[in-house]
């Protein structure tokens, strides 16, 4: 393609990417290095239904003037990145100096919001992603071998978890695992411990969240793999059959290598999605047991005082986290591209 043709061809996409992807990222980065101007506080007498009281309030005029002088706020550089709510450099080095074992050090780390969120997020991402790929693949192979009249119906039911809104899906599961719910009761009956409650135990809550994650995302993997299965070369399969390959050997040596690019694709999308886990934490009311970077952003923004700089900083850290997670795959894609060229 001529460069000029390519330019005009790519221009709409390029513009859209600039406006909807690049510009928001720039604005988030800006917001994370600027802080609101310092508030000018005054003592005021406030009266209301319960009498009068001397309280502190913000001096609006003085603060408005300060805001006008610095519309972007105070420049803080990487201050917010380094504070306790984020990378917590001072606290981490303090913990490193004072703890005498790795266990104690990690105990201290898990007390800091960012590292606690990362522990759960990474555990979640790296258990859910492979398991959902395996489950999705298994469903795809099973559905593919069904009689064609049954296929439509089974595909519809397999897709249900993805069709249900994530928040609703997690709420349904949340009620089922309640200690008075059907699953919660059954599990406590199996363990013959009437006091067992999934929602009161951190490990069980993590397992519930992971099970939910696999349940809700497996259909995505299934759809992709099912489409891929329709393109498996029949002659290769037949020759494998003639060579006496078992069903498992056919899958292992013919089907899986053929679907490998799709596995990479699903892994890429799901790593990104799972790293931003939020809905199940909200749906399961699991904030006491598990937090993720996204749930920290939600907390920052939904409090009575919105903490925009803190939320922006966590967002930038999330973007960096996703970039690091995807880098091996991206590097491979780049190499393939270079190799071809």
């Amino acid at each position: 393609m001529k460069h000029k043709t390519f330019f005009w061809f790519f221009l709409p996409t390029g513009l859209a990417m600039l406006i909807f992807i690049a510009a928001p990222i720039v604005s988030v980065v800006m917001q994370s290095v600027f802080l609101p101007v310092e508030a000018v506080l005054i003592e005021t007498e406030n009266c209301g239904p319960f009498g009068c009281k001397v309280e502190t309030a913000i001096d609006q005029e003085a603060t408005a003037k300060a805001r006008e002088a610095n519309p972007l706020g105070r420049f803080a550089g990487l201050e917010v990145y380094k504070d306790r709510g984020h990378l917590a450099f001072a606290e981490v080095s303090e913990a490193w100096r004072t703890s005498d074992s790795f266990g104690a050090f990690f105990g201290e780390l898990s007390d800091l919001p960012f590292y606690r969120a990362m522990t759960f997020t990474l555990t979640y991402t790296f258990t859910v992603t492979p398991l959902l790929i395996m489950l999705g693949f298994a469903i795809a192979v099973a559905v593919n071998s069904l009689h064609h009249r049954l296929k439509g119906l089974v595909i519809f039911f397999s897709l249900l978890p993805m069709i249900v809104t994530p928040l609703i899906g997690s709420l349904i599961l949340f009620w089922m695992i309640d200690s008075r719910g059907i699953l919660g009761n059954f599990i406590s009956y199996l363990a013959s411990d009437p006091d067992l409650s999934l929602k009161a135990s951190t490990p069980l809550m993590w397992i519930s969240l992971i099970v939910y994650g696999i349940w809700s995302s497996a259909p995505f993997a299934f759809v992709v793999f099912y489409a891929g299965l329709q393109t498996v070369p029949q002659d290769t399969l037949e020759s494998a059959q003639i060579d006496g390959a078992t069903r498992w050997q056919q899958i292992r040596y013919v089907v899986i290598p053929h679907l490998m690019p799709l596995v990479t694709f699903v892994a890429l999308i799901q790593l990104m999605d799972n790293f931003r886990v939020l809905e199940p934490i909200v749906g399961f009311s699991a904030q006491a047991h598990a937090t993720s970077l996204s749930s920290i952003i939600l907390t920052d923004l939904s409090g009575e005082t919105q903490q925009l700089s803190a939320a922006a900083t966590t967002s930038v850290l999330t973007i960096i986290g996703v970039a690091i997670l995807l880098s091996p795959v991206l590097v491979r894609t780049w190499r393939d591209f270079k190799g071809r060229a």
């Binding site: 802080l35 609101p36 209301g48 907390t299 409090g303 919105q306 903490q307």
Partner: protein, 412 residues
Amino acid sequence: MFLKKITAAAVLSIVAGTAYADCGISEGRVSIVGNEFPAIQTIGAGAQSCATDGVEVKTNLTADHQSINLPGMQGDPAEYTSAIIANSSIVALMNDDVIRPLDDLIAKHGGVLKKNQIVTINGKAMAVAFMANAQHLVYRSDLLEKAGLEAPATYEDMLAAAKTLREKGISENPVGGAYKAGWNLAQEFNNMFLGYGGEHFKAGSAEPNVNSEAGVKSLEMMKALSEYMNPDFLTHDSNATNAEYRAGNVALMNMWGSRAATMTDADGVPQEVVDGFAIAGPMTVGGGDTAASTLWWDGFTVAKNISDADAEATFVALMKAIDPSILSDEEVAKQAVWLIDGYAPTDAAKGVFAAANMNTIAYPMLPYMGLMHTALGAELTDFMQGKETAEQALADVEAAYVASAKENGFLQ
């Protein structure tokens, strides 16, 4: 319950529609954002009855009001011409200077207001309060009678009663509590902390002061109470504890006054739960005489970034909505502890009234209180799960608060 609400709202809007189809406004735009509970729905419907060809009245009543009211009032002109807020949430609107003083409007249209309905900050009227709220004890008189117990007046009594109820096999988890991680858990801490005589901040500054003896004692009391709660207590907000109470699983609970009237109004609530329902004032703790609770008011504000005509229309429509005549409807009268002239307390209101008479402290209207509340909600869960000591948890709260207060320019 839902049907009843709808009917009440419909009847009200018809009554209102016929009685005051003309609210005396000829032009303007009214757009109200606020929380969603029966009393506020009544206010919303009342304001909407002022809609005419020239006056557009919209309401957006949602539990998420707090995260949308500020952005919705920052634009110029503001999307919302009024936010219905409480003494905690007015602070965020004040901090960003998006609401206007109401003195001129009150002088012109506020004739029916009582003096204590006008909320003034630094001498300027910034909100008009229409109802009061507080958390107080609700209990099952039948179960307590069966165990030979009186309604507890202190949290220590509540613990002892819970022990008896469990030992006698009357109730397995007799105590209910909205201890959901986040806002609710922090609020229960605030109650207990103020009951122990604690102060959230060092006098006259934004420096935190929760890692104190009062803080540790508060946490220990909360932990002791949680032993008698449903093990899932960290996931229970006040909706969930309400449901637990209705199901008959709870005998003693600290509950919002705004929910007390409708506490047992639902299909399928067992008869003994309905009959045994009783309300008492808030409890004290640790021998103190300040109730371990906080006082709240709900009121309305008017946005700053709107035209004078819109501001006037908004104020007049809301004044119509809180007109003393709404109290003639019995359903409306029992929806809340109204601050409106002519309100006679119903039975459901006695808990909030007891709170007002017990030196209960009003929820602090400080610019940095919201940050403290968020920090408490996030950092106390480890202690409640037995993963760290009370001192460690409170030190974490202070560290988290200091970090966010520095970011927001309240601390150097």
